[in-house]
Each structure stands twice: as structure tokens, then as C-alpha cells.
């Protein structure tokens, strides 16, 4: 009966066999492993525990190093765990901590095993189960095993106790209520003189303090003592971490601690401890000038060290200082810049961050120049790192640091020409964004865009396509700033554009449309004498616009006409060019491209038929037709010339819902309304009625950048509809503008009312939204349109996890709580506001009780002062001093004064005694 299992156990492969086999297999690793797994599945069911445990061990190996699922063995692991043999237990615990997780179904069954082993007399078994608990603890386990862990916290076996201390952290995390039980004992262990225990406890507190430092302020005196007395660098590092968290919360504590830390920094020879001191000072003691200077000195030593590790850490520390003391970075500018060409990419990135931290509006140009040069020389990865950080730094907070936008725009152009540049998308966004936000830069923007478009070589680089699409859009949208629209047109329609992906091709075509309309408009409407009274309105607004843009652009405007006079002849050529370039695209597979090409060609046909023939040759005859064509051109041009403003993400939300409009109501009755719309019957090709042109154009702005002719048609319908059924549209009035920070970007009524259009709007918003900062530069910074809410990055409000809350809550309860919870351990409490007067009294009783206890031995585990040594006296005084200092806050009584001074003098003693650091055996280095 026991036959097969016996045979199994006799001929079972051991782990070593498995490993050897795996290394020598000829059938392929996967095949070998699946065969081995098959064996294991069989063996693990064997009733013999040795066989089972060996199988489990092999499975662990496969799971651990070859990542095979071992969850099927969860129950078997528990079976092995129940073995009385240590070797089996060890394997089982190993398997469990490797494979169990919170949703393992048999997790509940392990509680009793763990409990049994936690109370075992064999310290190694206890240690194993503690180790396992630290890994797999969940709420239930933590709750059920809290009593056992509590007992172990005062175990007299050091080996067990230190492990129990380390595990407490996980138990607290999972089950915060255990704090009420265990916390006091944990604190007692702080007084332990065994460095291992101390190290474990301090480790736990440094982790706890990371999450919620405030709760542990009352323990500061203990930590201080450890900091001053510690002979182990491991412990000192952890205590420093704790102080780095506590000091910012309590300035008096920082005052006390900063000196010992500086001492430590001067004396220690261990680099790790030294670095920890430096980091503590620069993160948490940055207002102590002398300490920072000392730390900066050390940082400099680090940075010029041969060891790349120290160099890296030095730069890293410097970047921490940089946030508060920028002078430090400027002082070390040479080293930082030099590190940009370090062979180590990590060091390079760190120094790049530092360089970016130095950037301000005064030096942004120089730094960018240096960096772009570096980018040209470095490998693709770092090159893009540099470009990315320039882009993000410059665009930070809506281009806060940019004063000279002309320079920045040309920098963008320059960056996109760097061979390795892959930041196309970001550059695209910024080009468009700047175009929308900064009016004054559009002239330069169009120039940069033209340079990019006109270069046929750039079309071959797929990383640049996004940049080109932005350039195309910019040149179409702001074509009125162009010196030579005809040239632009040629660039947009050049044959190599076939290399572009369809979506960008579509933008090119649309931009070509805009440019064409602009050319026609200049030629026929502006240049021609036919501009009637009806056209003057839109005409004026356009002029207003350019006047608003300042003298520069008006001059440019003049140049447009002079440098590249658009004659009828050139128009004819232009139309021919369009037809030539776009007719192949009519068969494009991409709907977007096809549709836009059709739009444009349709428009060209229309113009050619109606305008060119007539106005070119027999003016008197077809005057009527010419007017018709001009009208069309003007309409389309108006549609394009309206400005697109940046729209706040929350703009929609700001439109108040009018009274009586129920948004959730069934819209079925709309059908009846829709049915009585009469289709405008004037023309087959209608761009809307002249009388409504304002509405048309402003509505078209609501469309995204590339509104096409067809959308114009539909918007004209919409406008018509609006006129009839104004009732169903959102009311728009002045009151809205006043109530909102930013008026809905393209509010039709608003724009209709104020004829001077968007420019005033921009001014209005700029006044209210651009921060009061008035940089006094020779060249005034152009206005940057800013939308307060949309531009602030949506910061996800981080709620600390409830678990942490309850954890720190529990800790606070213990530490700050009422005396009756902790009658004896109040010494550890710095006075909290609710205990004022009692403080002194307590202190005295404490001192007394301590004196009684001296030499008392380990009689009571509940008492905290049982570890009294000769040193105790000194510590006590220090503690008393510490309390006194805090006392001062509570009540400023004169009687307290002399004593405090005295105790301070005494307390200073231990600091003056040359700390024993010189004789500390240096464990760390």
C-alpha cells in the first residue's frame, strides 16, 4: 500500500538533481521544467513529509527563479508546516513567504501554525514564523497574533526580540489597533542597550516616522539620546532619518539637534553616515546657515570625488539644496556643467536637473544655448532628455520664465532641427499654444514655421512630422503675418508632403485653404475697389486686430503687400498649383485628406468660374458675378480670420444653467422644432447670410482649428436656427462675464456686442489673470493669455490612506493620550497642550522614581527605567532639560528660569566631551 510513495521517496530527485538536470538538459529548458513540474505535482501529494518537503523545495526553486506558478501547492505547504521537524518547517516557511498573498484561500488556516511556532521554545522556529508573518500578514493574521508578538517584544532571547521588533512594523500597518497593545513595549525597547535591539527599534520608528512624523514628536528625547550616544553607524543613520522628519515640525527640536548632527558630520569617517548627515541638514535644517555651509562643503567634496557614487550623491544632495538655496548651485556651477559630459548617464541626468533648477528669466537664454549645444553632441537618449527638460522648464506655469518669446520660438525651431530630436509632440503643442496665447510673437512664429515648412529635407524625418503639422497650422492660421504667402503655399503643397501621414496631410491642406483664401482676399477684396459698405465692418475689425498687434506687425503687413504683390496672374498660378497638387489626393484612401482636398478644389473651381474670368477680362460685363465671388471670399475669409483663443478646460462648467432649463428632460419635442427649419434656398453653395456673419464666424470658432467650408454651412444653419429659437439657447449677457473669472471663450453674444472682438477679451482676461509680476525689462514681456484653472495641473488631492490615519491616530492616542492609559511612561511625552502645568510635577516624580529604580535590575518588565547604568544620570538631566525647554512654551514662569539655565549648562556637558566617535569601530567603512 505504501509502495508507490515509498518508491517515490527513494527515487525522488533532490533539489540538487533538479538543478544539475536543468543545467545539463538536452531536451530544452521548458520541456525539462514542465516534466519536473509534473513530477513535483505527484510527489507533493505523497503522505511522506520528507518527499513532500523536497518536492516543495524544488517547486520553490522553479517558482523563484523560473517564475512558475506555485499557488496550487499552498495547501501542501501548510501540511509540511505542521511537521515537527525543523528542516521541513524551514522549507514550508520559505515556500509560504514566497508564494502567499492576501488573497490566498488557505491563509486563514495558517494562523494556528504561526501561533504555535511563535510560542515555541526553539528560537529558530519563532524566528521563522516571525519572518513569515512579516511577509504575509493581513488584517486577520495581524489581529489574531498581536498577543504573541506582544509577548515576544520582551522576550529575553535577544535574537527573538529583535525580530519581533522588526515584525511589529508590519503588524501595525495591517492592524492599527495593535498599537494600543504593543506600542509601549516597543518604546521600552528604545532604552535597550543592546545595539541590535536598538537598531531594530530605530529602524521601525524611522519607517513609522516617514508616514506620520507628528505622532512621534514626544519620543524626541529618546531619539536625541540615541543620536548622541550611538556608537553604531547603522543606528545613527536611522536616527538621522527620524530627525529629518521631526525637525521641520518643531523648531526647538531642530535647534537642539542641529549641533550634534554637525558634530557627527565633522567627525565621522564613514561616507554613508556623512552623506546621511548632509542629506538631513539640506532637507530639514536648511534655515541653519552654518550647518548648510558645512554640508555644502561636504557636498563639494563628494562632487569632485573620483568615485562615481559619491559624485552622483553629491549632485543629488545639491539638487535638494537647490530648492531653498539657489546660491549653492551657482557657486558650484562649473562642476555641475562639467558633469553634463560625464560618461555615466545617471550623473548626466542629475546634473541636467540641477542646471534646470538654476534657470531663471534672466539666464534662460544662455543656459538653453549651452544645453542645446550639449544636446547636439550627446547620444540620442540624453539629447532628448535635455530637450525635454528645456521644453518643460520653459513652458512651466504658462511660460513664466520666458520674456522674449521671439527668441523662444526660434529656439523651438532650432531644437526641432537637432538630428536626434524626438520631442516633436511637445514642440508641436508649444508652437500652437504660444500662437494662441501670445499675440505679439505671431510674426516670428510664422517666420519659424515658414523656415520649417520650406525645408524639404525635414519631411523625411518622421519624428518631425508633428512639428511640421504645428508649423502648417500656424502658417495657415496666422497667414496675415507672412511676408510671402505665395511661397508658403508652395511649401504647403510641395510634392514631398506625400511623405506625411494622412492626419498631418489633412492639416497641410486645410492650411493651404486658409492661405489661399487670404491671398484671394488681399487680391480681390482689399486690393480691389469693390469693397462695399457691407464689407467694411469685418474689414475694420481685421484692421483693428493688426493695429492691436503693435507696430511691428503693421509694418510687416505693409510688407506683405509690397514685397510680394499678389496680382491676378499670381492668383491664377496659385490656383493652378492647387489643382495640380491636390487632384491626385481626390483618390486618397484617407477620408480626411480626401474630403479636405475636395473642399479646397471645390472652392478653387467656384472662384475660378465666377471671379477670375470676369474680373480678369471684361469687368463691366460680369460686375455682378465678381461681386458674388468677392462676397464668398469675404465670408470664408471672415470665418478664418476670427481668432481662436485658448479655451479653459472648465469653460463649459462655468456657463450657468439658466432657470427653467432641465437638462435631463427628454428631447423628443425637438423634432417638431427641427421640422420647421426652412433650408436656406438662396444658393447651392452657401456660407451663410451676410447679415449674420458675426455669428457665423464666431460659431465657426467653436469648431476645432480646422473648420472646413462645410462646417460653415452647418454653422450658418445653426445661426439661423438660433435666431428663430433663441429660447432654447443659453442666454448670454454681461452678468455672466462678471461672475466668471474668464468669459466663455467664444461667447457669440459677447463678441457680437463688443465689436472690437477677441483682442479686448484677451486684454480683459490678461488683466485679471496674469499675475501681478511686472518684470522690468528693457523689452516688455508680451501678454500671455492665461486661464487660471485650466493651466493649473489638476492636482489629485491625496488623501492619506485610512489605514495610516488610524495607525497614527492610535499612536497619538498612546503618546499624547490621557495619563490613565500610560501612568508610568509619561516621561517619554513632550508636553502636549492639554497637560501644561502637570508637566513639571511629572518630571520630578519621574526623576525620583528613576533613582529608586537604579540598580533594581530587571524586576519588572512593565517599567521603562530598568536599564539604568552609570550614564543614566547624565541622560536624565538632559531629558529634564529637554522638558524644561518645552516647558518654557507652556508657561513662562520666572521661577523656572535659573534652574533651566543650570540644567542647560549641565546638559551641554555631554556635547563638549569629545564624542566617542573617534574610537567607534567603523562598521560601515
Amino acid at each position: 500500500m505504501s509502495g508507490p510513495s515509498l518508491m517515490d521517496s527513494l527515487f525522488q530527485r533532490t533539489l540538487e538533481d533538479l538543478i544539475k538536470g536543468l543545467r545539463q538538459q538536452l531536451i530544452g529548458e521548458q520541456a525539462f521544467i514542465s516534466k519536473a513540474l509534473e513530477e513535483i505535482r505527484k510527489e507533493i501529494k505523497s503522505p511522506d513529509l520528507s518527499t513532500k518537503s523536497t518536492a516543495l523545495l524544488k517547486l520553490c526553486y522553479l517558482s523563484n527563479l523560473h517564475f512558475h506558478d506555485m499557488s496550487f501547492a499552498a495547501f501542501h505547504a501548510l501540511e509540511v508546516l505542521s511537521s515537527p521537524r525543523f528542516s521541513h518547517k524551514k522549507i514550508a516557511y520559505h515556500a509560504i513567504s514566497l508564494s502567499f498573498h492576501d488573497s490566498t484561500p488557505v491563509l486563514l488556516l495558517i494562523t494556528n501554525h504561526l501561533r504555535k511556532d511563535l510560542t515555541s521554545t526553539n528560537e529558530f522556529e519563532v524566528s521563522l514564523s516571525l519572518q513569515c508573518l512579516s511577509r504575509i500578514a493581513n488584517v486577520d493574521l495581524a489581529r489574531d497574533l498581536t498577543p504573541e508578538v506582544f509577548t515576544l517584544l520582551s522576550s529575553n532571547k535577544l535574537y527573538v526580540r529583535k525580530r519581533a521588533v522588526a515584525v511589529v512594523l508590519r503588524v501595525f500597518e495591517k492592524y492599527p489597533d495593535s498599537v494600543r497593545v504593543c506600542f509601549k513595549r516597543l518604546v521600552e525597547n528604545l532604552e535597550n542597550y543592546d545595539p541590535q535591539i536598538l537598531s531594530a527599534v530605530v529602524g521601525v520608528f524611522s519607517e513609522l516616522a516617514c508616514k506620520d512624523p507628528r505622532s512621534y514628536l514626544p519620543l524626541a528625547p529618546e531619539f536625541y539620546k540615541i543620536l548622541v550616544d550611538s556608537k553604531s553607524n547603522w543606528i545613527s543613520i536611522k536616527v538621522l532619518k527620524i530627525f529629518a522628519k521631526l525637525a521641520p515640525l518643531e523648531p526647538r527640536l531642530a535647534n537642539r539637534v542641529v549641533e550634534p548632527i554637525c558634530d557627527l558630520m565633522r567627525k565621522t569617517g564613514a561616507k554613508s553616515l556623512l552623506f546621511e548627515c548632509v542629506r538631513t541638514v539640506v532637507t530639514s535644517f536648511s534655515e541653519y546657515e552654518s550647518a548648510v555651509r558645512l554640508a555644502v562643503g561636504k557636498i563639494r567634496e563628494f562632487m569632485v570625488d573620483e568615485d562615481p557614487n559619491l559624485k552622483y550623491l553629491g549632485l543629488h544632495a545639491l539638487s535638494i539644496v537647490a530648492s531653498k538655496h539657489l546660491w549653492v548651485v551657482s557657486e558650484n556651477k562649473e562642476v555641475v556643467i562639467k558633469s553634463l559630459s560625464d560618461p555615466d548617464p545617471n550623473i548626466k541626468i542629475e546634473s541636467l536637473r540641477l542646471v534646470m533648477a538654476m534657470v531663471s528669466e534672466h539666464n534662460v537664454a544662455e543656459i538653453s544655448k549651452v544645453l542645446v549645444n550639449y544636446a547636439l553632441k550627446s547620444d540620442p537618449l540624453f539629447c532628448n532628455e535635455i530637450l525635454g527638460s528645456i521644453l518643460s522648464t520653459c513652458s512651466r506655469n504658462v511660460y513664466e520664465i520666458i520674456v522674449d518669446f521671439d527668441w523662444y520660438v526660434s529656439l523651438l525651431g532650432e531644437m526641432s532641427r537637432i538630428p536626434h530630436c524626438q520631442m516633436g509632440e511637445e514642440i508641436e503643442n508649444q508652437l500652437v499654444d504660444i500662437g494662441l496665447r501670445v499675440k505679439d510673437v505671431r510674426l516670428e512664429l510664422v517666420r519659424v514655421a515658414r523656415d520649417l515648412l520650406i525645408d524639404p529635407a525635414l519631411l523625411g524625418n518622421s519624428f518631425l512630422h508633428r512639428v511640421l503639422s504645428a508649423a502648417a497650422w500656424v502658417s495657415g492660421e496666422y497667414v496675415e503675418f507672412s511676408r510671402n504667402p505665395l511661397e508658403l503655399m508652395e511649401a504647403l503643397l510641395q510634392p514631398r508632403t506625400s511623405l506625411l501621414p494622412p492626419s498631418i496631410m489633412a492639416i497641410y491642406i486645410q492650411s493651404a485653404f486658409k492661405v489661399l483664401v487670404f491671398c484671394l482676399h488681399t487680391c480681390f477684396v482689399r486690393g480691389g475697389s469693390t469693397a462695399g459698405v457691407s464689407a467694411s465692418a469685418s474689414y475694420e475689425s481685421f484692421d483693428d486686430l493688426s493695429v492691436e498687434n503693435g507696430a511691428g506687425s503693421t509694418v510687416a503687413h505693409g510688407q506683405t503687400c509690397t514685397s510680394a504683390p499678389i496680382t491676378n496672374e499670381s492668383i491664377v498660378n496659385l490656383l493652378k498649383l492647387v489643382e495640380l497638387a491636390l487632384s491626385p489626393l481626390l483618390g486618397s484612401h484617407d477620408v480626411e485628406v480626401q474630403e479636405r482636398a475636395r473642399n479646397l478644389l471645390g472652392f478653387v473651381d467656384l472662384i475660378k468660374l465666377e471671379a477670375l474670368n470676369s474680373s480678369g477680362q471684361e469687368e463691366n460685363d460680369s460686375e455682378q458675378k465678381g461681386v458674388e465671388a468677392t462676397k464668398i471670399i469675404r465670408l470664408v475669409h471672415d470665418a478664418f480670420s476670427k481668432e481662436l483663443g485658448p479655451v479653459s478646460l472648465s469653460a463649459q462648467g462655468k456657463v450657468p444653467v439658466p432657470d427653467g432649463l432641465t437638462l435631463n428632460e427628454n428631447l423628443g419635442d425637438l423634432e417638431t422644432i427641427c421640422s420647421d427649419i426652412e433650408l436656406p434656398s438662396s444658393n447651392t453653395f452657401s456660407f451663410g447670410y451676410p447679415s449674420e456673419e458675426k455669428d457665423v464666424s464666431s460659431f465657426s470658432n467653436l469648431q476645432i482649428k480646422e473648420d472646413s467650408g462645410q462646417s460653415n454651412e452647418s454653422t450658418s444653419l445653426l445661426a439661423e436656427h438660433r435666431k428663430r429659437h433663441g429660447l432654447y439657447y443659453l442666454p448670454s449677457g454681461k452678468s455672466e462675464v462678471i461672475s466668471n473669472d474668464y468669459p466663455p471663450a467664444n461667447d457669440p453674444a459677447l463678441q457680437g456686442d463688443n465689436n472690437d472682438t477677441a483682442s479686448d477679451l484677451v486684454k480683459l482676461t490678461a488683466e485679471s489673470l496674469v499675475p501681478k509680476r511686472k518684470p522690468n525689462h528693457s523689452k516688455p514681456r508680451p501678454v500671455v493669455v492665461k486661464l487660471d484653472e485650466a493651466d493649473e495641473k489638476p492636482v489629485a488631492v491625496k488623501h492619506p490612506e485610512s489605514r495610516d490615519d488610524s495607525l497614527s491616530g492610535a499612536v497619538r492616542d498612546i503618546l499624547f493620550g490621557s495619563e490613565d492609559i500610560l501612568p508610568t511612561s509619561s516621561r517619554s511625552n513632550l508636553p502636549s497642550s492639554n497637560r501644561k502645568g502637570k508637566e513639571k510635577q511629572h518630571m520630578i516624580t519621574q526623576v525620583e522614581s528613576k533613582e529608586n529604580v537604579v540598580g533594581d535590575g530587571n524586576s519588572s518588565s512593565r517599567r521603562r527605567k530598568d536599564h539604568s547604568h552609570g550614564k543614566e544620570r547624565r541622560h536624565r538631566k538632559k531629558n529634564a532639560e529637554e522638558r524644561n525647554e518645552t516647558d518654557r512654551k507652556e508657561k513662562e514662569s520666572s521661577s523656572n528660569h535659573p534652574r533651566r539655565q543650570k540644567s542647560r549648562q549641565r546638559a551641554e556637558e555631554p556635547l563638549k566631551v569629545p564624542p566617542q566617535t573617534s574610537v567607534i569601530p567603523d562598521f560601515l567603512l
Binding site: S50, L65, R85, S199, E207, W234, F275, R279, N346
Partner: protein, 165 residues
């Protein structure tokens, strides 16, 4: 705290993994793939720290093995280097000039030694001698148990043999 410990050979073979934070099996493979790509490609004279997913990985190469530990952003990197070195020294002492093969064939022992050194992602035992003593004590416990097993199986095996005869 230390989130995990990895030993990766120069060829990218994993020699040991120990996880102190919760990572699912899938994440573990992903982490190892990412990190070996990140670390093995680094040249010899560069710094020993790599930033990774907002954490920091400290690695050090000993012969053909990379010892990697992943820590929080504000942990002390140099300290972790010390811990790695400490671990290597303990291994060296235990195996007697340790080499990669030792760790391959005694992978569980390497674990047990690590368990003595670190618990819950914190350094537990800074003394090499103590670790050696503790590991030896546990080894002897295991050995006595093993002897018993083998003797018992022997007895049963003999019994089975006689029975079958």
C-alpha cells in the same frame, strides 16, 4: 526599507529573488526584466544607483553576479551598498570563497543567510560572526533531522524489500 533583493548573473539569469513588498508573480517577472535591461547594460565604471519607478535600485557587481536591492527614494544608498557587501562577505565566509555555482546549487542556503541578515526589509544583523553562528546552528538542526529521516527511510526501505521478497 528594502523592497526586494535580486541576484542576476551577467547573462541575465536570475539567481535569487526576495520580495519584501507585495509583488504579484506577473509583476515580479516584469520587474526583473526591466531591471536587468537597465542594470546589465551599464558600464563598469559608472555609479551604482539607478532610478526606477520613483524608487532607487542600488546594485553592485561581484564577479559575474549583480546584487541588486531596491529601496525608497530617501533611503541611504551608501548604506545599502554596505549591506550588499556585508551579505557577500557572509556568503563568502559561509561557502569559503563563494562563487556563482555555490549560489546556484545552494540557492536555499543563500536565502536562509539573507533571512538572517534582513527581515521585513530592514537590516537585522550587522555582525558577520553572529550571522555565521546562527546559520551554522540552524544547519546542524537541519542535519540531525536529515540523518533521522534517512535512517528511517532506510529502515522502511529494508522492510519493504524484505516484504516484497
Amino acid at each position: 526599507m528594502i523592497h526586494f533583493v535580486l541576484l542576476i548573473s551577467r547573462q541575465g539569469k536570475v539567481r535569487l529573488t526576495k520580495w519584501y513588498s507585495a509583488y504579484s508573480q506577473k509583476e515580479r517577472t516584469k520587474v526583473i526584466r526591466e531591471l536587468s535591461g537597465l542594470i546589465l547594460t551599464r558600464g563598469p565604471k559608472l555609479c551604482n544607483f539607478v532610478e526606477w519607478r520613483g524608487l532607487r535600485v542600488v546594485y553592485k557587481r561581484y564577479a559575474s553576479l549583480y546584487f541588486c536591492m531596491c529601496i525608497d527614494e530617501d533611503d541611504n544608498e551608501l548604506e545599502i551598498l554596505e549591506i550588499i557587501h556585508h551579505y557577500v562577505e557572509v556568503l563568502d565566509r559561509y561557502f569559503g570563497s563563494v562563487c556563482e555555482l555555490d549560489l546556484i546549487y545552494n540557492f536555499h542556503k543563500a536565502y536562509f543567510i539573507l533571512d538572517e541578515l534582513l527581515i521585513a526589509g530592514e537590516l537585522q544583523e550587522p555582525s558577520k560572526r553572529t550571522v555565521a553562528r546562527l546559520v551554522a546552528a540552524q544547519d546542524s538542526l537541519v542535519e540531525t533531522a536529515k540523518e533521522q529521516t534517512s535512517s528511517i527511510t532506510n529502515i522502511i526501505a529494508q522492510a519493504a524489500n524484505t516484504a516484497s521478497l
